[in-house]
Assembly symmetry: C2
Homo-oligomer: 241 residues x 2
DNA sequence: GTTGACCCTCACGCTGCGTGATACTCTAAA
DNA sequence: TTTAGAGTATCACGCAGCGTGAGGGTCAAC
């Protein structure tokens, strides 16, 4: 059958079939003297296969490998693709999260007093930066600093709100459900500032009590809050393992 | 500061800054006689803004518009972007769903007897196709048929399994929680075959009882199943409105 | 003055086609 | 039998956001 018929049947464009021919992914069985591509049933079946894998997000290159090598490990390829898709979704989720918060912020739902703006900390002058650089690598720290700067203005009041939420439960057991849920919010908020692993999160908690500048700032929201956060963060990191 | 310093600070490549200069997104304040780009504090701040919007998935073009036009409607842009991201995630979810099912299938978790393979229906010779074309447009029908062909082999047994699941609850009220949950699975499965709106879903249910070829096939799984499905699907569509 | 780290400007490559431009081929109606 | 119209062919640029050399200046330190 001629190219348009095949294209219509499969729901793709003629150009797409041209392209697949160009890159050698799907070459029609027959070509007439006039140069017309004629697609056979077998060609169509292969096309179905191609479109199937394409739907799963495989690149044309990979599809070529999968289809041409009958010994290719399909299940492994599927697994890998599956993981890649999950990662993509995570990134998307983070983007959606951020944008939702930004929208809430722009809408002014978070009513911020001028004073509150300056309640928080300046991570960018973090005295532990050098230490952090040694422990987690320059890249992570730079990324984090840069993120903090970005969100500095728009996120400050959210952090403060969370401090108050934490202060409200800081008399509880750091391992309690409420405490862990609240510290989980803290964890997710920090995720927006960089890729914290649970271990980094634990380390951060330790800083909160090890450096008195942190401790004093945090304890303004409630006496002993820094220590409580440290314990809760350690517990949280344990459970993440 | 020179380009590498700026790039390192922001966590991007030198080439990226070159590119932003090329497209006029971020032009350095100063250029030395030797042609060196020198970035000012203001340049860096703009870069932060750029990276912020980039994180949200905005294209460089849109970022340019957003940053250059102070009257640009940020909230609307954010809303649009938000919707676009949600759509992306839906597509991703469908892909993930499909791939998970394919993996389960390849693993042989779904044990399929040869006989079962032919238990299902052939949508591609659907007698209602003409009718469907008139009601939903050629494009939707073609897309659906093509999808069905693609999944024909690998999805057939899943559909049959779902028929049996439906048969297991078809003595219940079509509006009951269990019934609606199960019919919801049916809805999501059909989503893989095309973009069914709730109204299309309802129409499909009506076909199940209106055409006896459908009815007979469905009722093989349980007497009165077709009618039950029609009612459950109508209810499901109602709730989706 | 020489090295080495940076800097510059082209310019092609990558992904998966869309979209013309230009020209040939085939089929059915006039 | 001519001719219009639908279909087909082959270039080849465009898009998004840079990565990655190639080939060649610049600058500070030794």
């Amino acid at each position: 059958m001629k190219i348009k018929e095949a294209a219509d049947l499969a729901g793709v464009s003629v150009r797409t079939l041209h392209h697949y021919d160009e890159i050698g992914l799907l070459t029609p069985d027959t070509v007439t003297d006039a140069g017309y591509r004629l697609y056979s049933e077998a060609n169509l079946e292969k096309l179905q296969q191609i479109l199937f894998f394409k739907e799963l997000g495989f690149s044309l290159q990979k599809i070529q490998v999968i289809l041409e090598d009958p010994d290719f490990d399909r299940s492994e390829a599927l697994q890998l693709q599956h993981e890649a898709l999950l990662e993509k979704r995570q990134r998307l989720d983070r983007m959606i999260n951020t944008i939702e918060k930004t929208i809430r912020h722009e809408k002014g739902e978070i009513d911020m007093s001028r004073k509150e703006k300056f309640e928080g900390f300046d991570f960018s002058t973090n005295p532990y930066e050098e230490e952090a650089r040694r422990r987690w690598g320059d890249e992570a720290v730079d990324r984090s600093n840069e993120k903090v700067k970005q969100f500095d203005q728009s996120k400050q009041e959210e952090m403060n709100a969370l401090y108050r939420e934490l202060a409200a439960v800081h008399h509880l057991d750091p391992a309690s459900k409420e405490a862990q849920e609240t510290i989980g919010k803290w964890y997710r908020m920090l995720q927006q500032f960089g890729n914290y692993t649970p271990e980094m999160f634990r380390g951060l908690g330790e800083m909160y009590v090890a450096d008195e500048r942190f401790t004093k700032n945090i304890d303004r929201f409630g006496t002993g809050l820094a220590r409580f956060m440290k314990d809760a963060m350690a517990e949280f990191a344990d459970r993440k393992k």
